[in-house]
């Protein structure tokens, strides 16, 4: 289904540590995500999944270790610099521009990708290329009919779709999705998974997810994070039968 993974990892973490006030949260994580992979990061609550995402996306600076994007170190860079190098993320708690329209939300993302950052001397309506891309994303996200509504007025699952769409619209190589189906009903969740599969065709994905059915339908690689360490990494079936994983995390979930 997905394009063949090339040998060199597009995103690589080498012995990454992070402590908050002396308390180690991430304790030496090594992780390699190859191009085109759909990589799930799972683990019990408090394992440090969100912290790891914040480290990769530049919200936090690692206490030690290296993070490489296409072989270039990105640890310690600002979020915007990391985004410009081709890594974008969505948020677990929906983070939109609630008073702006859906189309405008996407337009901000698309503008950044086209380098229209501090552009002052032409009206935004005249940017045909940007407008076309926004329409394309609206179509893909099935939000065309709501394009002029304020983002704050959307239904929850639509907001989640827009949340992912904004991260996607910066056209990154690597997309980090933080619990894309959090707080959704089973139907909404299935809808969102199908949407993610469709819109992220050909992208490298790293997904934090709690819902195992989502993980197994969406991803082709799984890493298990427990107490700040990766205890297993590999194909879903291999991870499922890994005794350490069974013991630490999956056992209870799979059993139910």
């Amino acid at each position: 289904m997905s394009p063949p993974a090339t040998a060199a990892p597009v995103l690589e973490l080498r012995d990454v540590h992070k402590s908050f006030g002396g308390t180690p949260i991430i304790r030496g994580v090594n992780l390699a995500v190859k191009r085109g992979q759909r990589h799930a990061l799972i683990g019990p609550n408090g394992a440090g999944k969100s912290t790891l995402f914040n480290l990769i996306s530049g919200h936090y600076v690692p206490s030690a270790g290296q993070i490489l994007l296409n072989g270039q170190p990105i640890a310690g860079l600002t979020p915007y610099a990391i985004n410009r190098r081709g890594l974008s993320r969505s948020f677990q708690i929906t983070s939109l521009f609630p008073r702006m329209s859906v189309a405008e939300n996407l337009r901000i993302s698309v503008m950044g990708r086209h380098g229209l950052r501090f552009s002052l001397f032409r009206p935004v309506r005249a940017l045909a290329q940007v407008a076309a891309e926004v329409d394309e994303y609206l179509e893909k996200l099935r939000l065309t009919r709501r394009r002029d509504d304020p983002a704050g007025a959307l239904a929850y699952s639509e907001q989640r779709a827009l949340e992912i769409g904004m991260a996607l619209a910066t056209n990154p190589e690597v997309l980090l999705l933080d619990e894309p189906t959090a707080g959704m009903s089973r139907e909404e969740s299935a809808y969102t998974v199908a949407l993610i599969r469709a819109v992220t065709e050909g992208k490298t994905l790293l997904v934090v997810e709690h819902d195992m059915s989502v993980v197994f339908t969406l991803c082709d690689q799984i890493s298990v994070l427990v107490y700040g360490e990766i205890i297993a990494s590999g194909e879903p079936e291999a991870v499922r039968v890994n005794p350490k994983v069974q013991e630490a995390y999956l056992g209870e979930e799979v059993a139910t």
Partner: protein, 419 residues
Amino acid sequence: MSSRARRLGLLPAFGGVLLVLPLLLTPNLVNAVIKMMIAGLFALSFSLAMGQAGMLSFGHSAYYGLGAFATLHLMKAVERSLVAWPTPLLPLAGAAAGLLCGLAFGWLATQRTGVYFAMVTLALAELLLTLAPTWNSVFGGEAGISTMRMNSWSIDFASDRGVYYLTLAWVAGSTWCLWAFTRTPMGRLALAVRDNEHRVRFLGFNTHGAKTLIFAISTMFTGVAGALLAIANEATNYTIFSAQASANVVLQTFIGGAGTFFGPALGAAIMTFFARVTSDLTRSWLLYQGLVFVIVMLFVPDGIGGLISVHAHRLRASAFKHLTLPYLVCLVVGVLLLVGVVFTVESVHVVLSDAYAVLRRANGGALVPYSLFGRQFHPLSPWTWAIPLVSILAGAALLPVARRLTRHGWSRAVGESAA
């Protein structure tokens, strides 16, 4: 679409009125309109930072003042024939001063957000206010600096009329620029920063840089407003940096409505006009302005501009008939409350004034009648205090009626417009 057409028709009409105004008004009123336009531009540029990007600055008088001083220095240089600079282009000096200082101060202030940002901008303005009177060479000490306007391009700038058209041209041009800004990618980015700065950072934008630039654009046009003031007054001193000037622009912007584009200019023009008109009648204008501001903050959070825009966008012209009676009742309530408050404030003012104390001493300490609005009132007579008491009580009693009527009228009007 019809409301859009209506608004588009309104603009040239308004411009036309402004163009012929000096031919109709007395010099004193022409001067008042000049000050209203300057206040309007000041409020518009302030609201570029506040309304668009959510940066509440309590120190915009700094850039207003710096624009004014920079322009006066250039005017002095022209006066001494050090440079040849045409008078109509003087505001460029204000723009440059505003832009440069805005970049430097803005870089510092935009490191923080929300109330921290407000405090830093306040401190920067206070810094200037305390430094200016001791720095003779730049700010002319306590006396300030003054100079003369030169005629150029064969335009007579000695008259108010010349200044009027100069101000009008610059205010119109600046307003167009500020409006156009909201349509640029940068302008849209400003809105995104206001809504959710955190997310903007993860979409590939350097938000600190963006905020610095937005702030500097705001201060640049503030500098232009300061320059226009300097040209109109031909003088200024360090008090232009005072907290009062910064406070005024905040008050006027929010009374006008920071969420709309033209609201702040409207608020500033109205407030400046009333300040001017009432300055001979009352010394309590600032109190009234403060009261209006607090009432707007409590009951009309979107300001006058917000009210107008709601009416323009949600109602059809035919639906206004449902609102005639409710608004009439609201007007009566407003007038009653206004009479009560104004009578009380002005009476207190007169009775506690030094002049009245002298009068009392001349009469052996008795509470003699005082004159207000051309009539005599006795401070101890129950009839005197019945006036404010009755009008305030009547207003307060009618207030719930007015609110109920307005609610009903509004829902019927909206219903009809939607149908």
